[in-house]
């Protein structure tokens, strides 16, 4: 590190900076010091915060005059002119509104929410203090326009403006500028590996596309988490929370959340901080035994496939089994007539038998900060590690166990620029796929052929012994189940352990990965050099290194590497149209290029009118795009029902698998087996649905050539109109948007024959009927089903909006309410195969009522949310999410003299009506907690 600093110093030593020292004090109208007030230089990223006595000092690399903007939540921000070096400024802040809070992310430069060119939400220290949710991350749900889909106790998935599954690859999460999505998953695991409460300075959410500034994947929105700089926030702060989670399925279980932050400014040149967080609890158990559609109602039904029961997905038509057994001579000829053509599923294991539901999050980060000239130029190194256990619901439910993510960042910045590079590495740890755990424990004690064979054998015997069909099915299952490993037995445990440590999904369920992302960002703000227009330029570069050893990606021969870069610029200009009306125009454009795709320009144009400093009307147009995820590009995974084959052009050829051929196939190809790769899926395939239609009718004209296209980025165009203002006592913030999505990333299920062209020009050699080869391949089951990753040609539209109103009532009580509307504008009936995964209620209403100072040092807050019913659509399963009401509440008491403590007693979901936000997850119960926060007033 020393060397790096030294080298860097050399580079910059030729440049000298003008430096101005400013210090001062901030108090409120009752002369109480305002703690943690933000002091920033306008048009510049330099800034600091007041200490516990309301004092601050700031070194600015600018010559006076310049303007300081002082802001704190709950107060109107103020601008103060600094005209000389060593000037002392004393500020009295008057109470203001949330619109006066300063945000950075909307324009990559500080500005008041009021003047932000696009919709933005902010969640600051005060909000964290008063949230009734169990932690800050959950508290975000009360913001307008924000949806949180609860996957598990520790994995919540934030989204805005619809189209989200838990694998929310359309929503970005940045922690101090670092994307904290796991490289293998391409989405963040909530706050599992994120930040501790006491280190948070602010959280900002930008709903909607923001690719113009943030590049690929800033598509549905971005969550920015900003930590506290140790130069500005020193000392030790601790938050301790104990409580219980209460759920019908899992009972009452203890819950502990502990976080500590230690920061120290050793000199004016060097400061450091360390954070550590530990959370432990029991996850919401998912025990939904309801059968998936079309599979009956309970295990008494022969083809039952329970939602949270795994292993019973293995299902087959027992008539086919009987025919096979007759062919093998195991059953007497003709016995198949006694066997009905019905699907029978194996008996599965309940989810509760396949996971301990332990929810754990351990995270630590540390930072070293150098200010070689004791000014705004700072070099920092930040390291973060996180490990945890949670449950993730994708195509199946995963027990994420000891998942490990680490990030290391080196950043150079001053008020006008930053240059940062970071690396993110994941290790899947002991994580496993619960669905395949169930399937493969079953296979460990009896392979599928034997199981179904015994079932059918017993069914036939039972039928001939005079049993009714129902009794014969019961006898079949009972016979086939002989030897089942019962949960709790040693044999079950050892089969479980063997399965979860085996990464092949044909025999095991281990989730194995060690992929990396290397990322670099740079930004320069020219506003201190040029007054005419505020200009920023920046760029980013990213390299992916996928390394699953062939278990997820087609990387058996070594890691797959690919890169992308982007450059952008933004121009911002304020016009005084009259004494009362200001106009702020923002224009941005970004160019992105991945080595896999053609380059993209993403523009953004925004205009904001400010009238009398009371009303702001904004309009914007922007585009966003989303690169296909690492899995969309490079997956090569046999999940039994299909081989998932990523849509990067060089990917399918790497997925090579051996297959046995039918006698016909052997005759055609002259070999007993074939090595078949994934290229057929993209170059010689039929839609699986058309093959099914062909199978039902025997009409070859039903076959529809699929030949999926290689995947390319998805795009969104977004129009937005908004208003913010102060209408008497009311603060209003509202917006509406219209989004148009193109090239939606989508999957196709296709069938690639092992021989014969899908155009049917090739025929079976020597066949007098000229049967096309491909048809012969399908008839003889010489094919593979693939799920390809491609883009839909359908254009999908959505629109929506939100209104938030807040006010003070009854002298000092905060009352807020907001309403969010979201609507999918797509003809789902005309496109029955197209799944949008909109997964968002049309109506959502949220409200809060509280008082931070009901009497001295005592505050309370009650938050209420109502969500309309909506359809959940995701690869794990589809189902309705019923409407729900949730009420969270807390009371808190501050004891400034005792370690600057805050005590809080709270409860979430106090109504106790369990609910869920996604089909297939555990029900969300209630949490009751007591917390003690030290030194984080």
């Amino acid at each position: 590190m020393k060397t790096i600093v030294f080298v860097f110093c050399l580079c910059l030593s030729a440049i000298t900076f003008a430096q101005t020292n400013v210090s001062g004090n901030v108090v409120d109208e009752s002369s109480t010091p305002v703690v943690g007030a933000n002091i920033v230089v306008v048009g510049n990223t330099a800034g600091t915060a007041t200490d516990f006595d309301g004092n601050f000092s700031l070194l600015v690399d600018m010559e006076p005059p310049f303007v300081l903007q002082i802001s704190s939540i709950g107060y109107a921000s103020q601008d103060v002119q600094v005209t000389s070096n060593n000037q002392t400024v004393n500020i009295v802040l008057v109470e203001g509104s949330e619109l006066d809070e300063v945000v950075i992310s909307a324009s990559r430069t500080p500005e008041r929410i009021f003047e932000s060119p696009v919709t933005i939400e902010r969640f600051g220290i005060k909000d964290i203090r008063s949230t009734a949710s169990v932690d800050f991350y959950d508290g975000l749900e009360n913001l307008k326009g924000v949806d949180i889909n609860t996957n598990s106790l520790t994995f919540k998935s934030i989204n805005t403006r619809g189209f989200a599954t838990f694998a929310n690859t359309r929503f970005m999460q940045l922690v101090d500028g670092m994307d904290n999505s796991a490289p293998v998953l391409n989405f963040p695991l909530g706050n599992l590996l994120g930040m501790v409460d006491t280190d948070i300075q602010s959280v900002e959410i930008l709903p909607g596309a923001a690719s113009a500034l943030y590049g690929a994947n800033a598509f549905n929105g971005i969550l920015f988490m900003q930590s506290k700089n140790p130069f500005d926030y020193e000392g030790i702060s601790i938050s301790m929370k104990r409580g219980i989670t209460s759920q019908e399925a899992a009972g009452d279980n203890p819950y502990t959340d502990f976080g500590i932050r230690a920061a120290h400014k050793f000199t004016e040149h060097f400061a450091a901080k360390v954070n550590f967080g530990y959370l432990s609890g029991t996850d919401w158990a998912a025990n939904n035994l309801t059968a998936k559609p079309g599979t009956g109602t309970s295990r008494a039904d022969i083809n039952y496939d329970g939602i949270n029961v795994y292993g019973d997905e293995v299902s087959t038509d027992i008539k086919g089994v009987a025919e096979a057994l007759v062919g093998l001579g195991v059953l007497p000829a003709g016995a198949e007539a006694l066997v009905p053509s019905v699907n029978v599923s194996r008996t599965g294991y309940n989810e509760a038998d396949l996971t301990d539901y332990e929810a754990e999050s351990i995270k630590a980060d540390w930072g070293l900060y150098f200010r070689p000239w004791a000014n705004d130029f700072e070099i920092s190194y930040v390291g973060k590690v996180g490990t945890g256990s949670t449950i993730y619901q994708g195509a199946s439910r995963y027990a994420i166990d000891n998942f490990f993510l680490q990030q290391h960042k080196l950043e150079f910045k001053n008020n006008n620029f930053f240059l940062r590079g970071y690396i993110t590495e994941d290790r899947a740890g002991d994580s496993y796929n619960m669905l395949f755990t169930g399937i493969n424990i079953n296979r460990a004690w009896k392979d599928d052929n034997t199981w179904f064979g015994q079932y059918v054998g017993a069914f036939v015997q039972g039928s001939l012994a005079g049993l009714t069909a129902e009794e014969a099915h019961a006898l079949g299952r009972q016979t086939a189940e002989t030897g089942r490993f019962e949960p709790g037995t040693e044999e079950f445990k050892s089969a479980f352990n063997a399965t979860v440590s085996d990464p092949s999904l044909l025999t095991g369920s281990k989730f194995q990965d060690n992929s990396k992302i290397y990322h670099g960002d740079a930004n320069y703000n020219f506003s201190h050099l040029w007054d005419v227009v505020d200009v920023q330029v920046g760029g980013s570069y990213r390299t992916y290194s996928l390394n699953s050893s062939g278990t997820i990606f087609t990387d058996a021969d070594g890691p797959i590497n690919y890169s992308e870069y982007g450059v952008y610029t933004q121009l911002q200009k304020k016009f005084d149209l009259s004494d009362n009306v200001d106009l702020k125009l923002t224009g941005s454009v970004r160019y992105d290029k991945s080595e896999l795709f053609d380059g993209f320009f993403s523009p953004r144009l925004a205009a904001g009118f400010t009238i009398n400093d009371q009303h702001n009307i904004r309009a914007s147009f922007q585009t966003g795009f989303r690169n296909p995820t690492t899995q969309d590009l490079y997956i090569g995974l046999d999940i039994g029902r299909a081989v998932l084959i990523g849509g990067a052009e060089d990917n399918p050829a790497r997925d090579i698998r051996p297959y046995d051929l039918s006698p016909t196939g052997q005759a055609v190809l002259g070999a007993p087996t074939i090595q078949f790769d994934g290229q057929g899926a993209y170059t010689n395939s039929y839609f699986a649905s058309s093959v099914q239609a062909f199978g039902a009718t025997g009409d070859a004209s039903q076959l529809e050539i699929a030949n999926s296209s290689f995947v390319k980025p998805e795009q969104v165009t977004s129009y937005e109109l908004g208003y913010r203002g102060k209408l008497g006592k009311f603060i209003v913030d509202m917006s509406g948007y219209y989004n148009q999505y193109q090239d939606f990333l989508a999957n196709e299920t296709v069938i690639a024959p092992f021989y014969g062209d899908v155009q049917l020009t090739q025929t079976v050699p020597g066949d007098p009927n000229n049967t096309p080869l491909a048809i012969a391949a399908i008839a003889n089951e010489d094919y593979q089903i693939f799920q390809t990753y491609t883009n839909s040609e359908e254009v999908v539209n959505s629109y929506g909006g939100s209104v938030g109103v807040s006010t003070k009532v009854l002298g000092g009580f905060d009352l807020g309410a907001n309403y969010t509307y979201a609507k999918l504008d797509f003809d789902t009936e005309a496109n029955p195969d197209f799944r949008t995964n909109f997964n968002t209620p049309e109506h959502k209403v949220k409200g809060s009522f509280g008082n931070t100072e009901l009497f001295k040092n005592f505050g309370f807050n009650v938050a209420w949310r109502w969500s309309d019913t909506y359809e959940w659509e995701a690869s794990f399963g589809d189902g309705q999410v019923p409407a729900f009401h949730v009420v969270d509440a807390q009371i808190n008491y501050r004891v400034p003299k005792f370690l600057k403590s805050t005590f809080k007693v709270g409860a979430t979901n106090v109504l106790g009506d369990e609910y869920f936000t996604a089909f297939g997850t555990g029900n969300i119960g209630s949490m009751y907690y007591v917390s003690w926060t030290i030194n984080n007033l």
Binding site: G294, V314, K319, S341, N449, A465
Partner: protein, 526 residues
């Protein structure tokens, strides 16, 4: 076997099936059951063994509960019709006792290898008359003219074959006829089923050992294994329908299937002699050497088709007695002696093979022949011993179907099968004409059996065929249906009723479900 769990195709099919289920459910809700113009308030079933519920070679409580009239009446009950009454047997063993003697065997069960008679003693005593009338008037064994015969239910006539024990149990009087007892109930709706079946069945199951009585209009002269004259049948059938419809009753009749499609006739192959059988294969050269002079004699007589040769590589047909062949014992004797055989041997062979040949695919071996083929014919063996033939030689010459031609009763030859077919066709012409002129619904049992015996017939998720034991349609006796088969038959009746009377049993889903009916019964059930 490819198990494609969560197979995309299956999954998709599952969804489709589900949608269909949904729509069916909706239909069940939406479509209200209607009787159309039919009046099911008093339903009487008249017929023979199918109507009675005969299965696995017997009639017993469980089989009666699954009789097709009972299944039908359960559907009629949805329209408020009354319960069907049946002359219940005393047990689930089946079989009959008369005067302390077992006159009908207990039912068959599947013993793991094949059908076997239940090791139990019947407890249903024929003389314990339970006078009806019963609305199920199914009498196993009844021929068309029996339904009109007074005294057919006289207990006293059972022992001499003048009366039927099943009718004797329920006849209202010893002089009653089946038709009279049926009419006495004043049915509003009737099924007249499988009439004509027994008029050919006895002939067929006896290997054609009876007489084709076509041309003989006096049924009182018929033996039990004879084919009824079509005019006699027509007379009886027309009388039955006329009487039943006389008071305005509606009903369903069935035609007669080709009984030779039943597994009783199709299970035993005509060429069952397998050279890989260690008891048979090694003897083939000796047998062929033995038959060589005989075959030379046949050739000499210009009848090479009578030659007997056993293949050492493929299964060979059995040797059968065919009464239609000219008796050539005299010529044969002369030729054999001329060929140098001693007179006794020539005499024996010429008698034994006077009217014999190897079977062809057109000959049907009846089911019980399987227990006879390649076994020693003791009667003939004793006969040979009495003639002074050494035991070893006698044993070689008395092997059924190999050295001793299978007797007439084991084989329905092509010409005998032709007699059955001609009679059946004639009956069916009558049935169709009468049904049509009387406005009755007609169930095409013949077509149904043909379909089942060729392509198989679908019933819910099952595809049933006429294989013995495994086919699902025909019970272990090879002639009568399984409960599942009777359920299918009931549904076919409902289809016909819907078509003729405008009811909607099928559309409303008021039908029997395959899963509710077994293919046989447990031996524990007694």
């Amino acid at each position: 076997m490819k198990i494609k769990y969560i197979a995309v195709l299956l999954l998709a099919l599952g969804f489709i099936a589900c949608e269909e289920d949904d729509s069916t459910t909706m239909e069940e809700v939406q479509v209200e059951l209607s009787a159309g113009s039919a009046n099911f308030s008093n339903y009487v079933a008249l017929g023979a063994s199918f109507t009675a519920g005969f299965t696995d070679g017997a009639l017993f409580i469980a089989s009666q509960e699954n009789s097709f009239p009972n299944i039908l009446s359960q559907q009629f009950a949805a329209l408020g019709a009354g319960e069907l009454t049946q002359p219940m047997m005393n047990d689930n063993i089946g079989g009959l006792l008369l005067g302390g003697n077992v006159i009908a065997n207990p039912r068959l069960f599947f013993n793991g290898a094949g059908p076997a008679v239940l090791p139990a003693i019947p407890t249903t005593v024929v003389s314990n008359v339970m006078p009806g009338p019963y609305s199920n008037m199914g009498v196993p064994g009844a021929k068309s003219f029996h339904l009109l015969a007074n005294g057919y239910g006289n207990v006293g006539g059972v022992a001499t074959g003048q009366a039927n024990p099943y009718f004797a149990r329920m006849a209202s009087s010893s002089n009653a006829s089946m038709l009279e007892d049926a009419l006495a109930q004043a049915p509003t709706f009737f099924t007249l089923s499988e009439v004509g079946g027994n008029d050919v069945l006895g002939f067929a199951t006896s290997g054609g050992s009876g007489v084709d009585q076509t041309g003989n209009f006096d049924p009182s002269t018929y033996g039990s294994n004879d084919i009824t004259d079509p005019n006699v049948f027509a007379q009886a059938f027309t009388t039955l329908v006329g009487a039943l419809t006389g008071n305005g009753a509606q009903g369903v009749v069935t035609n007669v299937p080709y009984v030779t499609s039943l597994p009783y006739f199709t299970t035993v192959p005509f060429a069952p002699l397998d050279p890989t059988n260690p008891d048979f294969g090694p003897q083939i050269p000796v047998l062929n050497a033995t038959f060589a002079p005989l075959n030379q004699a046949f050739a000499f007589l210009g009848m090479p088709e009578r030659s007997i040769v056993f293949s050492e590589t493929a299964a060979s047909p059995v040797v059968i007695f065919d009464e239609t062949l000219p008796d050539i014992s005299e010529q044969l004797n002369l030729v054999l002696q001329g060929g140098g055989l001693d007179p006794l041997t020539a005499q024996l062979l010429s008698t034994q093979f006077a009217q014999s040949r190897q079977a062809t695919a057109a000959d049907l071996l009846v089911l019980p022949s399987s227990t006879v083929i390649a076994t020693l014919n003791e009667d003939y063996f004793n006969q040979l011993i009495a003639l002074g033939v050494p035991a070893a030689t006698a044993g070689q010459l008395a092997v059924n179907g190999v050295t001793y031609p299978l007797e007439d009763r084991w084989v329905l030859t092509a010409s005998e099968e032709g007699s059955v077919r001609v009679a059946t066709d004639a009956y069916n012409v009558t049935i169709e004409n009468v049904a049509s002129s009387s406005g009755l619904a007609l169930v095409d049992l013949n077509g149904i059996l043909q379909q089942a015996s060729t392509t198989g017939i679908t019933f819910d998720n099952y595809t049933m065929n006429t294989d013995l034991v495994f086919g699902g349609l025909v019970s272990l006796d090879g002639v009568h249906l399984t409960a599942r088969g009777y359920a299918l038959m009931a549904n076919k009746f409902l289809e016909a009723i819907d078509a003729t009377y405008g009811s909607n049993f099928i559309e409303a889903g008021q039908v029997a479900k395959a899963n509710n009916y077994p293919v046989t019964y447990s031996p524990e059930l007694q």
